[in-house]
Structures are given as structure tokens and as C-alpha cells.
Symmetry: C2
Subunit: 291 residues, 2 copies
């Protein structure tokens, strides 16, 4: 297939490379020429606008930071939708509000095009390895047609439901995951304050009901005090804004998500926004170390 790609950052670049490696022809667009250079060298067609890029594509993939970014590349005279051939599909892998995904899906449908929300979990490691979990919302037929492209990037690929459902699942994912990181931070901080070896505690807990990917990977970063980012924590902070807005609009109280959100706020305010989310441990330590 001919696949367009917008957003060639830490996540998008390796994903695009995996799509090319699976035998698809790449068309790329980037605001900064530097972002497309490596892919151009590998044979991708570099385009002047999202519209030009989309005009020859079966599937266009976007991986950007937030809902406004997606709208900026999707809509307008030079946007993806203006160029997309009838029946072609824009798959957005960014993490954005479910409402924006539904809004874009409706606009696309009016013009005979398809918009799928397909946020991912697995970080840059999963992006490089092609092992991402991809949670898809939108038309079932469009999902099946886009599947070969998704399979080049991820391992667990599931359609959750209609438009927006992928983003709801992603919000749930971030809620569960970041809460688990915060729980590890609190537990290991308590163990340390109790004079108990935190590495041994983590190791023992991996054998029981407390087992989680967060304890395994992010707990290890806390124990070894390696706060270099897998995913920068400011992105999880952003994801929680989406989550809490969704809680407000559905009228659902989320008591611990709200508390985790405040810890993420404290993390941002403490200057840890570009570090790993395991820095939630350092937020707890600060309040203890303050005289």
C-alpha cells in the first residue's frame, strides 16, 4: 500500500521505518526538513504539504502530540482531508480527547473519507520493536483495510468500538498505568523509610498479586534511581488532562485518578517534566525532606 506519515519524532520515526520495512511505499511530510531526511534517504517521497502527501495514499498515519496538532494537519486547505482520495483512511495514533476523535471522524465521513483513532501503548521501545498495543476506534471495515499497516507497527491490535473508543481505552490505559507507577513510588518510599531494602521488596512483590508491568519496569528505575525518560512524564501529565475531562463530561468520579493527577501536577511543578514518570518517587521524597 501507499502510506503517508506525519509526525516523525521519537515514536513516529521508528514506526514509519517499520511500515517501510513491511513493504509499503512511504510518503512523508514534516514541518522541519531534518525530520524527514533519514526516511528520504531510505526512499520515502517527501511532500510539501499534508494535502500533497495524502493525495496518493491508501492510508495516512499521524503521530503527533495533542488534539490541536491533529486538527492542524488534518483540516484546512493544506490538510490531509483536502488531499485524501475517496475511501482512503487517516489513522491517527496520537493520544487525544475522545471528543476530538469523534468530531474529526464526523467531518471525514461527510467527505467520504475515514478517520480512525488508534492510540498506542508501549513507548519508544515498543515503537522500535514493532510490538505496540494499538487500540482502535472507528468504522470496522476501515479498520480491516488499515490493518496491514497497523500490523507493521504493533503486536496487539484491537478494535474497541466506534469512533472515540480507542481514545477511551487509551485514557483507561494511562490511568491504570500511571496509578501503578505512583503506587510503586509510595510503596518503595514507605519501605525505604521503614529501613527495608527496596530492591528486595520489589523483587519479592514481583512474585505475587502486586505484579504489574509498572513494578517490573518503572519500579526498577526507582530502585536504581534511573530517571532518564522512556516516555517524558509531561506527556502522561497531558494524558491525565484528557482523562479528567472525560470524567467530568461523563459525570464519573475518579477518586484515585484525581489524586494521581495532583501528584503529576506536583511533578511538573518540581521540574521533572522531561524526566521519566518514575520521578513520582522524587515528588514524595521532596515532601519528606522538607524540614
Amino acid at each position: 500500500m501507499i502510506v503517508g506519515f506525519v509526525g516523525l519524532g521519537a515514536m513516529g520515526r521508528p514506526m514509519a521505518e517499520n511500515v517501510a520495512a513491511a513493504g509499503h511505499a512511504l510518503r512523508v511530510w514534516g514541518r522541519r526538513p531534518a525530520s524527514t531526511a533519514a526516511l528520504a534517504d531510505a526512499g520515502a517521497t517527501v511532500c510539501a504539504t499534508p494535502r500533497e502527501m495524502a493525495s496518493a495514499c491508501d492510508v495516512v498515519v499521524s503521530v503527533v502530540t495533542n488534539g490541536e496538532d491533529v486538527k492542524a494537519v488534518a483540516l484546512g486547505d493544506d490538510g490531509i482531508l483536502a488531499g485524501l482520495p475517496a475511501g482512503a483512511i487517516h489513522v491517527d495514533l496520537s493520544t487525544i480527547a475522545p471528543g476530538i476523535a469523534r468530531e474529526l471522524s464526523a467531518v471525514y465521513a461527510q467527505q467520504g473519507a475515514e478517520f480512525l483513532d488508534a492510540p498506542v501503548s508501549g513507548g519508544s521501545t515498543g515503537a522500535r520493536a514493532g510490538t505496540l498495543a494499538i487500540m482502535v476506534g472507528g468504522d470496522e471495515d476501515a479498520f480491516e483495510r488499515a490493518r496491514p499497516v497497523l500490523e507493521a507497527m504493533g503486536k496487539t491490535i484491537r478494535r474497541i468500538g466506534p469512533s472515540g473508543a480507542g481514545q477511551v481505552a487509551k485514557a483507561c490505559n494511562q490511568m491504570i498505568f500511571v496509578t501503578a507507577v505512583q503506587a510503586c513510588a509510595e510503596a518503595l518510599h514507605l519501605a525505604e523509610a521503614s529501613g527495608v531494602d527496596v530492591a528486595r521488596v520489589r523483587q519479592a512483590l514481583l512474585g505475587g498479586s502486586a505484579w504489574s508491568r509498572a513494578l517490573d519496569v518503572w519500579g526498577d528505575k526507582m530502585v536504581t534511581r534511573d530517571f532518564s525518560p522512556g516516555v517524558e512524564s509531561r506527556l502522561h501529565h497531558k494524558d491525565f488532562r484528557i482523562l479528567m475531562n472525560e470524567a467530568m463530561s461523563t459525570g464519573v468520579p475518579l477518586p484515585i485518578a484525581a489524586q494521581v493527577w495532583q501528584q503529576l501536577n506536583a511533578m511538573m511543578g518540581s521540574g521533572f517534566g522531561r524526566d521519566d514518570t518514575s520521578s513520582l518517587l522524587r515528588v514524595l521524597e521532596q515532601s519528606r525532606n522538607t524540614p
Copy 2:
């Protein structure tokens, strides 16, 4: 070895059977004759008091509900310590406050006996299968001598540190685990309120960073609305009292643990104390359903 066993409930009974199956001779004591009958039929020696039971043992195991229960069987004229031969070991598998474990360890040491805190994780399923995680605090030599008995009951057996360290690890385990159950409840409740299929959300999230034993097992109970207990939630409520007391005595703030504690309080107040902890979902649903 000759092994004494006190506390033959849903956890203790299968654990005692596994110890017997591993070739150790069992001596048992129970407040209610009914609790010892099945083991007596299988060849265990039934004793009149904890003291009598302990008097011929290399290792005594207790699996009771709380710290007061442990003290009641350990101390006093008819208690385990009064009977325990020099060099023998009392291994307490109950979940109690680290401070009580340290206190008992000190009293035992004064009389030339050993007390190990060795709380477990894995529930009645793990107890039956002999696959419990066992977190041990106390003297290293005593731990090594008691190890064959522990290996008959568990799979992941680790000494965490000195007396009390096993209980600190268990408090951390419960904190991380119950928080993960609450996070699943909030996420699935939000998904449902957003009109998204909760079974598909859970399935998709098992592929990514949100993976946890809680989402796998307790998330499934929420999706299928099976609130029958693995472990009754009132026991987790009790464990959080230990956890929050430990936070107070060490001066460590535990923001989300405190919030989860309040949800457990609400769960108890809602009459779900004998149900599974996945009932945390029903606590959220109540506040949404109240007009």
C-alpha cells in the same frame, strides 16, 4: 521435621496439607475441634494447647487474622513460646503490623527462641497450589532452617531483611495490589460511562503498559460481575489499617494509598466486606447511581 500448625482456615488448611504432603510430621491445635478433624484423620497429632503443640516441634507455623490473634497463641502460659524447645522457630504467616512482629521477635530472642514474620501473597488459590509468595523478616540462620517448611507452601520465598521487614513488604504488596484493583474499577467504570465495551477495553489493556495481575484477575471479575471472594475484602481493609499506621509512624505521606483506604471504608460501609475486593467497582457505581 516436626511442624506445628495453628490457624486452619481457608488459607491455613491447604498450607498445612502441603506441609504434610512434603513429608513433615504435623502437630495441630485449633480453638474449634472441627477445624482439626480433617488433618487428624490424615495423621496429624491434635494437641490441647499451643504450648503442648509447640513442645515437640522444630518449626511452628501460625496463619491467623491479626496481630492480637498472633499474640494470643504466641504468649501466655499456654502459648507457643512457653512450649517451644530451644532453637526452634515460630514462623508467623499472618499479615500483622511490623511493630508487633518486631516486638514478638524480641520477646522470643530473650528466651532463646526465634520468631519470623513471613506473610504471604497469592490467596487461597496460591495456598492450595503451594505457589504462594512468602516475604520473610528475621534472623537469617533461622530463615534457612525454616526454609524446607516454607518451600512446601510457597514458590517465591525471599528474606527481605530483619524482623518486621516481611510485614513491611506485605504492606507494600497490599498497597500496590489494592490500588491496582481500584484503578481498574475507575478505568472500567469510566469506559462503561463512555459507552465503550469494558471487556474489550480490558483485553486491549492486557497488551500494554497497564498490564497487571489485578487487571488480569480482578478486572475479569469486574467485567463478568463475579463478586464472589477470592479473599474477602474486609481483610484488605484490615491490611490498609496496618499500612496507614506504618505511614504515620514513619512520617511518610501516601496520597493515593490514603484515597484507596477511603474507598475501602466506603466498600465496608456499603456491606461488601464479605465480597471480593473487585466490589470497589460497585462503590463507584453507587455514587453514580444515586439521584
